[in-house]
């Protein structure tokens, strides 16, 4: 075991400073990938936070009474793309003003209680659609369609749909980024292990002449790949964590990746390194 370990370490040192440059390269790619991952996590968190809010809010004209409002609800619910519609009366809105508009809501509520004047809050319809299946364009189309009803004053997209769009975009970006990162990391680690293999070419040839089995050098190649992949990933994560920590106040209290995500990144780095090590061994030994 000691011999095998020494052999693996000597294999890593064969690549010289290239191994160090490789770790920096893999670290840099990991840091970029971590940025995408963190961005995706933040959007995902926001989306989760807003998941219970309606996709669209349609404000009714003041002239529309509750019975007309409820008739409109049943009309809108016939649309196959709409999951549910909740009616909220002007009185309910006034009652909820405190939570929705905070200080301003309290002020309006108190003024209304004292004077029993005009309730400034409009009745509204909270409209829920299945955003997983509906694109942003389709959502805008639904909003326009709702707006054509005479009872409707205005239709507002709450932004939850926008978040879903951003989430989809970030998912796509992250997938593309991960694919590119895998290719680049594969190339970096592959080049460095190849360099070590070329540096040891004469030694490998001699060992073959002396009866070396092909798998004898598998461990040094695999360990070299693991070393570059894991250390690069750890360094990248470490640097990124340092940046997040230093700029925490500017970033508005952004939390770093969850533990399972950190482990995932390191394991991915290790696996890529391992595969590249084995592939390079197959090619050069």
């Amino acid at each position: 075991m000691r011999y095998r370990l020494k052999n693996a370490i000597s294999h890593i040192t064969c690549a010289g400073t290239s191994s160090l440059i490789g770790v920096i390269g893999v670290g840099f790619i990991t840091a970029l990938l971590t940025t995408l991952l963190l961005n995706h996590s933040l959007i995902s968190e926001q989306s989760e936070f807003k998941s219970h809010s309606p996709t669209l809010v349609a404000f009714l004209k003041d002239t529309v009474d509750e019975s007309n409002g409820r008739t409109l609800v049943s009309q809108l619910e016939k649309n196959g793309q709409i999951l549910a519609v909740d009616y909220t009366s002007k009185a309910d809105k006034l009652a909820r003003g405190e939570t929705e508009f905070q200080d301003l809501g309290v002020l309006i509520k108190e003024a209304f209680a004292e004077t029993q004047g005009v309730n400034p809050f409009p009745a509204s319809l909270n409209i829920y659609v299945d955003e997983e299946l509906i694109t942003r364009k389709a959502l805008e189309h639904i909003a326009l369609e709702i707006k054509t009803h005479d009872e409707i004053e205005d239709v507002m997209l709450t932004g939850h749909g926008q978040l879903k769009d951003r989430l989809r975009d970030s998912e796509r970006t992250m997938l593309a980024g991960t694919a590119i990162a895998v290719v680049v990391v594969w190339f970096i680690i592959g080049s460095i292990i190849k360099r070590a293999a070329v540096a040891r070419a004469e030694e490998i040839h001699l060992m073959k002449l002396l009866g070396m089995f092909r798998n004898h050098l598998l461990l040094p190649f695999a360990v070299h790949g693991l070393f570059l992949g894991s250390l690069g990933a750890i360094c990248g994560l470490g640097c990124f964590y340092g940046m997040v920590y230093v700029f925490q106040s500017q970033l508005g209290g952004v939390h770093f990746l969850a533990m399972y995500q950190i482990i995932l990144v390191v394991v991915a780095g290790m696996l890529i390194g391992l595969f590249v090590g084995v592939a390079t061994h197959r090619k050069y030994v």
């Binding site: 030694e203 001699l206 060992m207 073959k208 002449l209 002396l210 009866g211």
Partner: protein, 215 residues
């Protein structure tokens, strides 16, 4: 032990060996004599399957080399001891590490490797150089180290490429006595040399290679 039948080899257009045929029986000590560039090293490389012949059949220790695949090649080579003309030591490994290499490649237990290395270093008079690098010992000591490395796995066949090159007659005869002792223990020895006189002095079978053919 060795059967060479109508073997030919050429480097690009330059023909080195043409229809070479000979046999070496088990336990023999044979000199392959020829001038520089006559194809001795090429023939030796063919025998340990570092090169494949362009024509003819080769059979070494009962194994037809044309039928050797990647899986069986290491087993085949572990049965052969090789002494290279330029020694081919690992320059950054010590004398004892170089000597241990064939044993490690064969998967010998570490404790046994250590024992064997110490025994061979002692036999070859290299014990005091065990921590030295191959570049730090004399030419004659390097030759002895090369022979020790070739025989440490107790091969059935020893192929030595010009082991007496650059040695004076006394040291050459000393080295031949060492190879003779190995041959006496049952090892088949096949040595290439340019020095015909030395081969005649040793009173062994001589195969002469000249202009790519056996004379």
């Amino acid at each position: 032990m060795i059967q060479v039948h109508q073997v030919s080899y050429s480097y690009n257009e330059l023909s080195v060996l043409e229809q070479v045929s000979f046999r070496v029986e088990r336990g023999e000590f044979v000199f392959l004599v020829g001038p520089s560039g006559s194809g001795k090293t090429t023939l030796l490389r063919l025998l340990y399957a570092d090169l494949m012949p362009l024509g003819g059949d080769l059979s070494v220790i009962g194994q037809k080399l044309a039928k050797l695949d990647k899986m069986s090649l290491p087993y085949f080579r572990q049965k052969i001891g090789l002494v290279f003309q330029d020694f081919k030591f690992l320059p950054n490994k010590t004398v004892s590490e170089n000597l241990a290499l064939p044993q490690r490649l064969a998967g010998t237990a570490p404790k046994l490797v250590k024992e064997n290395v110490n025994r061979f270093l002692h036999q070859m008079g290299l014990s005091h150089h065990q921590h030295a690098l191959p570049t730090e010992i004399s030419n004659n000591e390097r030759r002895r180290l090369a022979i020790a490395r070739a025989v440490i796995n107790n091969p059935v066949l020893l192929l030595a490429d010009a082991p007496t090159e650059d040695l004076d007659l006394r040291l050459s005869l000393e080295l031949m006595a060492l190879l003779d002792a190995l041959n006496f223990q049952g090892m088949t020895v096949f040595v290439t040399t340019t020095d015909r006189k030395l081969a005649e002095k040793c009173n062994k079978r001589i195969i002469e290679l000249r202009d790519g053919g056996i004379q």
